[in-house]
């Protein structure tokens, strides 16, 4: 069986390498929030302030 055959969709689950502690987690790189979905209250307040028509007015010229 070729390597790519083992990758066809139905050959899951993908089993990546075990994850050791990142050296960067103690200040050298990424930190992770402890929980999944964060608190929503502040964000909902911020989102409700957004003008529903804002994107309709937003026009740009084509860039690269």
């Amino acid at each position: 069986m070729s390597k790519i055959t083992t990758l066809e969709r139905r050959e899951r689950p993908f089993d990546p390498m075990p994850k050791p502690t990142s050296p960067s987690e103690d200040g050298g790189g990424p930190r992770r929030p402890e929980t999944g979905s964060p608190d929503k209250d502040n964000l909902l307040k911020r989102m409700r302030k957004v003008d529903p028509k804002q994107a309709e007015r937003y026009r740009q010229r084509t860039g690269q």
Binding site: P20, L43, G63
Partner: protein, 508 residues
């Protein structure tokens, strides 16, 4: 050899005007950064976007009919091309200017992901501070900036990631090895978008996509960047010794707000380029990459499969996993940064299928989708409500008082790759191990004796003819550090160039 950089074109608007002139606003924003008079120091002589890496030169670059009309109007404006561009070279080695009516920030060349992310974030701070100064002059918070890639009316602008490569790698190997990866990279690096659009056509709300740019990908390979955009841009503009190097200029990427997504985007691409250099990429040629990039973008459930040329079909995750497996087999144990990339890449692919909520604050499309789902539920909206498009836009606002992503970050709900000290340092100084740092040091040490600057050289005045610091082959970090010492110790550019010349002779 590792060297990369990111160019970001920002969206700009004036909320107090019904019709905004983006040329004038972009110019004024860039000029608002200045504390002294604008000087035309950027040297355009090294720029030729018509050279194609496939071995030919095109006579012109394409743009759409609407842009043709705009360009005709621009020709009658009361300022010159150089004034319109308002090119600035910053003390951190970055370039900040008005590119195609968008304020653009190009990071200095970086050697590590951590430096690159710090400089990408420094760009946000520099632009936002310029907007604050401009708004002070306007007596209100009228100018707003967006680190995104669409106006939801069929106009896209880019965020380009660039990689220095040895020219000895055949370009055909780069394209064959990279295309399937780029088609699927949006799974980890897409910024997310509500709605579907295309150049010169309308916007259809409702569908959530992984990527902002997928709608605008129209061909596999092309030198063009504003029309008929390619998955893999073939521009051959190395900004380095052409005999030895090429610069891979990727235009398919989205502008990321998540530091983690930017790190994965550039880190995994760097890893795949190393696989290509070693002849170790998986053979995954797709039947129709342009269709595939759109099919994968329009399926946030990640169930869509795309056809392989050799037969069979693969999902985006399958493609990413194939590249990860090859990288793990070939590059594992190489160095700390590569280990970080391999580990986080694997973790991300696993979480995309097992627990996507843990990627909120790490991947932009997952974060944006979570925000919109929350809002739809709370406000009982339908998915084609225009409010969602406005929220999508506001996710990318770089004003910390307004931006939705920055709100999440302020609350501590994002995964950081840098910290505030890294970003502030990157606002004022360049990387210590690349020519980008040298460029910035020249700007800081000898601001009044610089005649011109561009990516690969700095020209100094003070002689009958200007003298040049050539950096077209300055990629050895030890050489960069030696030159840094020379520039820091020199009393003048003349002293520095003389000392550097002697130092190089000793070296050779």
């Amino acid at each position: 050899m590792r060297l990369f950089g990111i160019e970001t074109e920002y969206g700009i608007t004036r909320e107090d005007q019904e019709v905004v002139d983006p040329v004038v606003e972009s110019m004024k924003l860039v000029r608002a950064h200045l504390t002294r008079a604008f000087e035309k120091t950027w040297d355009y002589s090294g720029e030729d976007p018509r050279e194609d890496a496939r071995g030919f030169r095109v006579s012109g670059l394409q743009q759409d009919r609407e842009e043709d009309e705009f360009v005709k109007q621009d020709a009658h404006r009361p300022f010159s091309f150089r004034e319109m561009k308002s090119d600035l070279v910053l003390p951190n080695g970055a370039r900040f200017y008005n590119d195609h009516t968008h304020p653009e920030y190009s990071t200095p060349e970086c050697r590590t992901l951590r430096d690159l992310i710090a400089h990408d974030r420094a760009g946000e701070r520099i632009l936002q501070r310029a907007a604050t100064r401009r708004n002070r002059a306007l007596s209100g918070p009228h100018v707003q900036l967006y680190k995104n890639n669409t106006d939801f009316h069929g106009h896209s602008y880019g965020c380009h990631d660039n990689y220095l490569l040895p020219r000895s790698i055949p370009f055909s190997s780069v394209t064959a090895g990279l295309l399937p990866f780029l088609v699927s990279r949006q799974l980890i690096a897409g910024a997310g978008k509500i709605g579907v659009e295309a150049q010169e056509s309308g916007f259809r709300p409702g569908l959530f996509q992984l990527s902002q740019r997928a709608d605008f990908m129209e061909t596999e390979l092309s030198v063009d960047t504003m029309y008929n955009r390619p998955i893999l841009n073939t521009r051959d503009e190395p900004h380095a010794d052409r005999a030895k190097y090429r610069r891979l200029h990727l235009i398919i990427g989205d502008a990321n707000m998540c530091e983690y997504a930017t790190a994965l985007k550039v880190g995994t691409t760097r890893v795949v380029l190393e696989l290509i250099a070693r002849g170790a990429v998986p053979a995954l040629e797709l039947d129709n990459p342009v269709v595939a990039v759109k099919e994968l973008a329009r399926d946030p459930d990640l169930k869509a499969v795309v056809r392989r040329k050799a037969g069979g079909a693969l999902s985006g995750l399958d493609i990413q996993e194939a590249y990860w497996l090859a990288a793990q087999k070939t590059l594992s144990g190489q160095d700390e940064e590569t280990e970080w990339i391999l580990r986080e890449w694997a973790d991300t692919l696993r979480l995309l299928t097992s627990d996507r909520s843990r990627l909120v604050g790490r991947l932009d499309w997952v974060t944006k989708l979570w925000l919109l789902e929350t809002f739809v539920r709370e406000e009982r909206l339908s998915w084609d409500d225009p409010w969602l498009t406005s929220l999508d836009l506001e996710y990318h606002n770089i004003d910390p008082a307004r931006g939705l992503y920055l709100g999440l970050e302020t609350d501590g709900n994002t995964t950081r790759v840098t910290n505030e000290a890294d970003i502030e340092a990157a606002v004022s100084t360049g990387p210590s191990d690349t020519r980008g740092g040298i460029r910035g040091l020249c700007i800081r040490r000898f601001p009044d004796q610089i005649k011109s600057v561009q990516w690969e050289r700095v020209q100094f005045t003070g002689w009958l003819l200007p003298k040049t610091l050539d950096m077209s082959d300055l990629f050895d970090p030890d050489a960069v550090k030696a030159l840094t010492q020379v520039l820091e110790a020199a009393a003048s550019p003349a002293d520095a160039l003389k000392a550097w010349s002697q130092r190089k002779e000793q070296w050779q």
